[in-house]
């Protein structure tokens, strides 16, 4: 109902139009060859360099590792011992690999909703604030300039330092609570708090900007119409106007957050350096392929399994949230 004013702008639906092709004697048949060739040349002039690089640095590695994954390939990239699907079987039976997928699942289950909620919350606050708005926006956005490594350093050495002088333990001390060994022990799993807050700090501002842009695009008339209809401001308008209007952005944000979560490496590597717990898939693959064994066969098989998994989740999520249709028109 409330979307009424927007409706007439949309063009009438397409079906009655016939396909837009010129009448039969198509002009490009005779005598147009040189022009067409010039067009092709221009096309390759623009896209050729990129495409060549893409083939060499994206497709060749994938094909190569597909091949490697079928071989026994320790410390060599030109293996000779064909093992069929053994590497895949080994990976799927490997408790550590499966545990790393479990670690990822726990991580995503906490980090994705938390980042989503916080960035939306910050966006709503900054959107409503009048006074000092640019300052607040910058304050939340500034962590985007920080790297995961730098943030890990601050989190590990200062904020969540397990000894007494760490900031968190200092604050706990003011309330008479004993120091917590945040990262040094998996029981209780406080390290999740460290990892998730780090990601929150780094990412929330970035996604806040996306939500802010989307909030600014919501037509004010919707809220006015709702007010006329007697809707209470606050939760009611948020639930029935703001959230539905943010649907495309929300779908995109969830997808981007999930993809970012899959790629989690930096903070795990730096925070939990020598720990045997909390290893997401990329850290596991790193140790496998670039650690002592340099097992490229197993590493490739693991990477491909992970890529396959990501593809499936992405497609599934696209189906569920209708990503790509709403966002891109």
């Amino acid at each position: 109902m409330a979307t009424r004013p927007a409706a007439p702008v949309a063009p009438p639906a397409g079906p009655p139009h016939p396909p837009r092709r010129p009448p039969w004697p198509w002009p490009r048949r005779a005598g147009r060859r040189p022009a067409e060739r010039r067009q092709a040349l221009t096309f390759w002039l623009f896209t050729g360099p990129f495409l060549a690089g893409l083939l060499v640095f994206s497709y060749v590695p994938i094909a190569w590792s597909l091949w490697l994954s079928l071989f026994e390939a320790r410390s060599t990239v030109t293996p000779t011992e064909f093992v069929g699907l053994d590497n895949y079987v080994t990976m799927l039976a490997d408790g550590d690999f499966l545990r790393s997928l479990g670690t990822f699942t726990v991580f995503a289950a906490f980090a994705v909703p938390a980042t989503f909620a916080l960035s939306l919350g910050l966006a709503l606050m900054v959107h409503r604030v009048r006074f000092l708005k640019p300052f607040f926006r910058s304050a939340f956005f500034l962590p985007t300039a920080c790297s995961y490594v730098a943030a890990s350093l601050v989190w590990k050495m200062s904020v969540f330092n397990g000894v007494r002088f760490g900031l968190a333990n200092t604050v706990l001390g003011w309330f008479g609570v004993d120091s917590v060994a945040w990262l040094a022990s998996p029981e209780p799993p406080w390290y999740w708090l460290v990892i998730v807050t780090l990601r929150l700090w780094l990412q929330a501002g970035f996604f806040m900007i996306l939500f802010l842009a989307a909030l600014q695009n919501i037509p004010q008339e919707l809220y006015e119409a709702a007010a006329v209809d007697g809707a209470r401001t606050g939760w009611q308008t948020f639930r029935h106007i703001t959230l539905p209007q943010l649907r495309a952005t929300s779908a995109a944000v969830v997808l981007l957050l999930l993809i970012a979560a899959y790629q989690a490496f930096d903070e795990f590597y730096n925070l939990l350096d020598k720990a045997t717990w909390g290893r997401p898939p990329l850290v596991y693959l790193y140790n496998l392929a670039l650690g002592e064994n340099q097992d490229y066969g197993l590493g490739s098989a693991g990477a491909l399994l992970l890529a396959l998994l990501i593809c499936l989740v992405t497609l599934l999520q696209g189906r569920l949230l209708g990503f790509g249709r709403g966002a891109d028109r």
Partner: protein, 296 residues
């Protein structure tokens, strides 16, 4: 459009300074308090970096919290750059080269490819576009094992080439450029073409100069990502000589001895350039993120 919104906004504006209910005032105060507290929390890590970088180890590990070092130790900067165990100046230089190389290369390669896909009709352009999209399905980080295999057999491990070149071919950036050029006003190019310019020169003389905002946004984002990248430089920069800033920072974290003030001075020096870039170019960055993020 601006006229229309102006008219619509007028009645709401006029009612602006109306007497507000106690509840609204309270709500406003709550909003400002919450926002201010959140902003302070977000700035705490920056405060910690600066405080610890300039404090003595005794102040950092002290029994009571030192809010700010009484006698800021600026000498820590010199100590950082003369520390023989980590070639920090070299790492800064490498990061700068990698960041600039990434930015320039990406802008050149991805913008032209995006334009070709958006504007030059060709039989196979759909097929090429699908090749580009195909790489979006597989996040780059997952392919680091295969990419390392390739780059090591090219002999590019521990080299600037190896750090820069494989990262230049981002399907996502091409996608962003294509989307952008699809929305670029066609009339401008057609005027140039009527004047006898080829596609190529029309692109450089008309399209690019009119797209500088978008290029700037992509440039800032690419530079920040290049500077902050960790996994690939860790894999490729195996010689100390090819460490980037992030790899150098990480080496402090895994080192045997912990030298707190040095670690934080290193963090400060690595973060500071980006904070400056960030604050100066924020306008483009915000535009770029808002635009590219939504389309991505």
């Amino acid at each position: 459009m601006s006229a229309a919104t102006g008219v619509k906004a007028a009645p709401a504006r006029a009612g602006g300074p109306r007497p507000r209910s106690a509840r609204a005032v309270l709500g406003g105060a709550g909003l400002y308090t919450a926002t201010a507290v959140a902003a302070l929390l977000f700035l705490v890590p920056f405060y910690l970096i600066v405080r610890n970088a300039l404090a003595t180890d005794a102040e950092i590990t002290g029994e009571t919290w030192t809010f700010f070092p009484t006698d800021p130790q600026w000498s820590h900067i010199g100590e950082l750059f003369s520390d023989p165990s980590v070639p920090f100046a070299r790492a800064l230089w490498n990061s700068l080269v990698v960041g600039v190389g990434h930015t320039v290369g990406t802008l050149l390669l991805c913008s032209t490819a995006g334009y070709g896909l958006a504007r030059i009709p060709y039989r196979y352009s759909r097929a090429v576009f699908h090749l580009v999209l195909g790489t979006l399905m597989v996040p780059a980080a997952v392919t680091f094992v295969p990419s390392f295999v390739l780059v090591s057999s090219l002999g590019w491990v521990s080299s600037l080439r190896g750090l820069i070149i494989p990262g230049l071919f981002s399907g996502f950036t091409v996608f962003l450029f294509r989307q952008y050029f699809l929305g670029f006003p066609r009339e401008l190019e057609e005027a140039a073409r009527v004047d006898g310019l080829s596609h190529w020169s029309a692109y450089w003389r008309v399209v690019v100069p009119n797209s500088l905002n978008f290029f700037a946004a992509i440039a800032v984002i690419t530079f920040i990502n290049g500077w902050n990248a960790f996994l690939w430089p860790l894999v490729i920069g195996q010689d100390m000589e090819y460490w980037t800033v992030q790899v150098a920072l990480s080496s402090y974290l895994t080192a045997q001895t912990v030298n707190l003030h040095l670690i934080f001075m290193a963090t400060a020096v690595s973060v500071l350039p980006l904070v400056v870039v960030f604050v100066v170019l924020q306008r483009w960055l915000v535009q770029g993120v808002a635009r590219t993020g939504i389309k991505g």
